[in-house]
Amino acid sequence: MRGWLRSDGRKGIRNVVAVAYLVECAHHVAREVAGSDRDHAHVIGFPGCFPNPYAQKMMERLCTHPNVGAVLLVSLGCESFNRHQLESVVKATGRPVKVLVIQNSGGTRSTIAAGQAWVAEQVVALAAAPTVPMDISELIVGTVCGGSDGTSGITGNPAAGIAFDKLVAAGAACIFEETGELIGCEAIMEARAATPALAAELRASVEKAARYYETLGYGSFASGNADGGLTTIEEKSLGAYMKSGQSVISGLIKPGDIPPKGGLYLMDVVPDGEVRFGFPNISDNAEIVEMMASGAHCTLFVTGRGSVVGSALAPVIKIAANPHMYARLSEDMDVNAGRVLEGAASLEEVGQEIFDLVVSLASGKRSKSEELGHQEFILTYKSFEPIGPACLPV
């Protein structure tokens, strides 16, 4: 494994230009700028016109993600997003950064041309950038499940959990999340906490999620989950929980908090305070974005019904839980965990395969979703309080 060393000591497994729109009104221009070289220029952004400290923090973390080598900020000009602060945060890391304000740049065509020229220069420079050796212990890996069905919790999710155990044993930091999909798992999860105070924090995070979703009137449960045999949110949760493996839970983080050392971390993704901005994560990529903001180099994505998404900035490994779905969507799937149901592989074997794939991904191999050009990204309004001292026991 080799990576690109950043000024904060972290290492990237990719070296891309982030093209970030700072309001939806600048999205088209950003997309056109990146469109000339989608392999090397990835579009991210925040659509809102009104200020939100969470979105500001997410964009700062994402623009300084270890997989990012240079940043182009595309502003319309009148949005509230603090582009000056974002620019200075990126600049302080030593990364090349440029701001294009459409209203001051002559409009759509000339802004696109200026952006494409700048990105092309950066791509040349990044291609020549030196790499350094990288160890598994320097990796941060996230996991999500999406399009879950009754197979997810018995094949793909426990196999991802085994891969997590191997990564944690090798010193990596692993993040599992979606407290709204851990409802019903509070008791078994808190027993795995590193300290009693952390156990209380884990329980409180799930209880917060249960209250939040009760107010919304629906759980984190899509109609397709029921088609696939799942009946209740707590049943879906128990299956999702399997992704966490067996390791001790070292800490509770919130989006943008970077794990201080190796170990297993739960990410609390449900906003604090009263219900304000709607569903915590409106679709799977919102969760991937939050784990990237916490430094995840790549994401393990387990799917039963058959999600096809990837992500901007950090590669996604797709793990098919259901062998029938794998047969239909094999071009999108990196791993067929459904073999476990057919007696063709053990969970341990699939877990090892996932672990090996993480290592090869970090050594330059591209995942299926990367090859297919998937670069989904979504960031919406949220609000969080900082984590308390019990969340990260020393």
Partner: protein, 104 residues
């Protein structure tokens, strides 16, 4: 007691089995020594009752409660939206055959 090998038990105290393969409509399936069949096909990942559960009692899977029986469940019953409800939030299903629980 004999049970079809396509039904897997995830944890010893579970009241349900999980299907690891499809079952066709009308096909005879052994559940705890009793042959049962279903009017509609059932997709893999669906649940079939292993033990009787009285209305209001908990249904157990993975060794943990996944909700309560909304009506009495007998061994061999398909367990889904028609006889199992969450203790937390209600479940939304778009497709009418699933909402009425006629399977996949």
């Amino acid at each position: 007691m004999q049970t079809d090998p396509r039904l897997i038990l995830l944890s010893p105290g579970d009241t349900v089995y999980v299907l690891r393969d499809q079952i066709a409509a009308g096909e005879a399936v052994m559940v705890e020594g009793v042959a049962v069949s279903f009017a509609q096909s059932l997709g893999l990942g669906h649940k079939i009752a292993r033990l009787a559960v009285a209305a209001g009692d908990r249904v157990i899977k993975y060794g943990a409660p996944i909700g309560r029986a909304s009506r009495a469940i007998a061994p061999g019953d398909h367990v889904h939206l028609h006889n199992l409800v969450s203790d937390y939030t209600p479940t939304y299903a778009l497709n009418p055959q699933v909402a009425q629980n006629r399977g996949d």
